[in-house]
Amino acid sequence: MIRKIVAFIFAFYFGFILYSFIYTHFPFGERPLKGVAAHYVEKGVQEEGATNIVTSIVTLYRGFDTLGEVTVLFLAATGLGLLLAGWKEEEKEKPEPTLIMETTTKYLFPLVLLFGSYIFIHGHLTPGGGFPAGVVIATGYFMMFIAQKEFKPSEYLLSATESFAGTLYVITGLLGLALAFSFLANVAPLGVPNTVFSAGIIPIIYIIIGFKVGSEMTGILQHMKEV
């Protein structure tokens, strides 16, 4: 009990400090765009050709971060696999999925995949992009894990997709290095903004990310499920 009270006091003190600080210094919504943000908003579309500024930030301006981000996810997936490798499976009573679930998911699954693909292909135009798309795809698989008893995607395939997508991402970056002397440079033609085939390498990267995130999340879920 005392522990809880003390923890409460300190946690709230922490919150109080944080809150009072941000509230005084960064009043909500009153901060003008400045620095790089202003640049992105003003010049972003001309420079990179993507109407979704966030996307061009994520994949190009701060594309290096995204590469790291993908790596982190990759790391988590492999780490998880490494840690959970050789798990002794215990026989547990698992509830039988109902017929309705079994049937609907069968039909819903390709649709979900399609939706995911749509999101990552249109990442540079609309909200979304590779990461949400990947998660959506993984959700589809998750659905299948729950509803279909026998469903089990090939681990090899997942792993290969993951690795292959990763290597492709790096190669894309290296292409930039080779052609424009800068890693991850936007070497493809920008095209007309606001169309699908525009914004240079952004769609390519998002497709790669979509595949990669999808396979990684699926991999994570599958590892977790097996325990």
């Binding site: 300190f10 003190y13 400090i17």
Partner: protein, 601 residues
């Protein structure tokens, strides 16, 4: 440049012996040749007044040679030769010589060092490799003793380093130079700190705790160098600290010198008492070594020309006879494989040369003329009386009485008394030891009769710092209190001895009696009968001293260490929580800092 080369020669010799490791003969020859090359360089090229500096980016290494360099250098090199001779017979491997030569490098290098950082570097080198040498030691206890030695010598080294930095901070000079112009009492602190490692090396109480163990548990040959050679660095350090670094100590802090003198006296006395209570030859000698080094501290503490000459001469004498004693014990150990005094006896017939070595060694230790021990003791007494500290004189005198006690215990338990059955086939110590003994007996007598040889050199060292008052020539010394002619004393003794011998030969004849042919109050004794009185020798003195004998610095220190251990346990408690506790530290830390920043946010 030569100074640098000398050190390089020693280091390379050490490395060469390491790599020529497998063959013992080769190793020995290389070691000897390397030593000879280095010492030849030293003796022919090192004259007072050489200067050399070497730049390693941020630090400049400065070397300089003075009279003291030559004096101590020759002592250390000579003792190292004895060590080498003895170590030919020791069990040794490549690393043995490597460590030994690096120790030598450090010891000789310290004599060259002109700035305090180089001094520290070389001093630590010496401590470190002598530690490794002790660690390699000869028995189960060696590692423990080595540990003790390491901690103490590093304690000293760090104190020195602290002193160095204080000096550099206050004077902006890293050179070994005068600090008496600094205002305030910080100069005393600097002096004390700089003096500490030397008090440790010279085993001045209460910094002596490592010495008995380290001396007795290191390899026998190395102990010769350890006690005879390395302790001289301590003496050299006294000289550096009291004469070169704080030149006006006598006028500014006379009480400090008094404290040193009294510490020296106490050391000499207590170590002497501990020495004759020991039952192990090397432990006994270790304490005897400490006791003798106490006199040196007294000499420095009195701080007159007489006393300092006496101190230097005593250091020289200490090197000679303490090396001799350890060497003999090493030879005996080589033959009988023990240093326990209770397990030996009657070896005089088997090892006559060793006996002669030990006999004159103890005679010199006790300070009986005409050996090297006498001039320094004579001069020291005169100096202390002149200073007017009669109680200290008495204390020193008491210490020299203890020297008789432990000397006799040593010689009796090893060489006199009844020969043990298992030692009937023991032979004389092998060539290396014998050579060493003979080599050491020469200075033992020569300097005892003609101390002027050394005194002249010592006078050169210190006349720059102290008004030269002592009158001396090759064979005499004169102080306001008195005058002594050393050869006369020697001649008197020799002629009296001859006279007694004549009386002896005039009357009657002798016949040889067996050792069992003894007065035993009609009890029949056989060969197996334990007649040798060696166990509990001076045991009754334990009763005489009573409780105070049990007091020791070690217990005090242990109590102190326990305190640290307790604090350590508390500190460790911090790291024993679970993950939530650690997180709590984080939040607490955040809150605390935020609170401290308070209104600034």
């Amino acid at each position: 440049m030569t100074m640098f080369y000398i050190l390089l020669v020693f280091i390379l010799t050490g490395l060469l012996t390491l790599f020529l490791g497998p063959i013992k003969v080769l190793r020995n020859i290389v070691a000897l040749l390397g030593y000879l090359a280095g010492s030849a360089l030293f003796i022919y090229n090192i004259k007072p007044g050489l200067i050399y500096s070497l730049n390693i980016r941020v630090y400049n290494i400065h070397f300089e040679s003075g009279f003291s360099t030559v004096f101590f250098g020759i002592i250390i090199l000579a003792v190292f030769l004895i060590f080498l001779l003895a170590s030919f017979h020791e069990e040794n491997d490549g690393a043995y010589y490597l460590f030994a030569f690096l120790t030598l490098t450090g010891a000789i290098g310290v004599l060259f060092a002109k700035d305090l950082i180089s001094f520290f570097f070389l001093f630590e080198t010496m401590s470190l490799f002598s530690f490794l040498m002790v660690l390699k030691g000869k028995n189960k206890n060696s590692p423990k003793s080595a540990f003790k030695y390491l901690v103490w010598s590093v304690f000293g080294g760090y104190a020195f380093l602290f002193g160095t930095f204080l000096k550099v901070y206050t004077t902006h000079s890293v050179m070994i130079g005068d600090i008496s112009f600094i205002g305030g009492h910080i100069k005393l602190l600097i002096l004390l700190l700089i003096l500490t490692p030397f008090m440790v090396k010279a085993a001045l109480m209460p910094f002596h705790l490592w010495a008995p163990d380290a001396y007795s548990d290191s390899k026998d040959a190395f102990t010769v160098f350890f006690s005879g050679g390395l302790s001289k660095i301590g003496i050299f350090g006294y000289f550096i600290a009291l004469f070169k670094i704080f030149t006006e100590i006598a006028s500014k802090y006379p009480w400090f010198l008094t404290v040193i003198a009294w510490l020296g006296g106490i050391t000499a006395t207590l170590a002497g008492i501990y020495a004759f209570m020991q039952d192990d030859a090397k432990k006994l000698l270790a304490y005897s070594s400490i006791s003798q080094l106490g006199y040196v501290a007294v000499g420095f503490g009195i701080y007159t020309h007489y006393s300092v000459v006496a101190a230097f001469f005593h250091a020289l004498g200490h090197a000679v006879y303490e090396s001799l004693l350890f060497l003999v014990v090493a030879g005996v150990y080589y033959r009988v494989k023990t240093t326990d005094l209770r397990k030996m006896g009657g070896l005089i017939k088997k090892m006559p040369l060793s006996f002669i070595g030990l006999l004159f060694g103890i005679i010199a230790t006790s300070g009986i003329p005409p050996t090297i021990g006498f001039p320094s003791k004579w001069l020291l007494y005169e100096a202390v009386i002149m200073k007017g500290d009669l109680l200290l004189t008495s204390l020193v005198f008491f210490a020299s009485i203890t020297a008789f006690l432990y000397s006799y215990k040593l010689v009796h338990s090893i060489f006199l008394g009844k020969l043990h059955k298992e030692h009937r086939d023991v032979k004389e110590a092998p060539l290396g030891y014998a050579t060493g003994i003979i080599l050491l007996l020469i200075p033992l007598f020569v300097l005892g009769v003609a101390p002027g040889i050394a005194v002249k050199h010592i006078d050169y060292i210190i006349r720059f710092y102290l008004k030269p008052e002592l009158g001396y020539n090759l064979t005499t010394m004169t102080t306001p209190l008195g005058h002594v002619n050393f050869p006369v004393v020697g001649i008197v003794m020799v002629s009296m001895f001859v006279l007694s011998l004549i009386i002896y030969f005039i009357f009657g004849s002798t016949y040889k009696a067996d050792q069992t042919d003894n007065y035993t109050a009609t009890e029949a004794i056989s060969d197996d009968f334990e007649l040798h009185y060696a166990g509990e020798f001076y045991g009754f003195m334990r009763k005489a001293f009573g409780r105070p004998l049990k007091w020791s610095f070690e217990k005090l220190l242990n109590a102190f260490l326990k305190l640290f251990a307790f604090i350590g346990e508390i500190a460790r408690g911090f790291y024993m929580g679970d993950a939530r506790v650690y997180l709590f530290y984080l939040v607490l830390f955040f809150s605390l800092l935020a609170y401290l920043m308070g209104g600034k946010l």
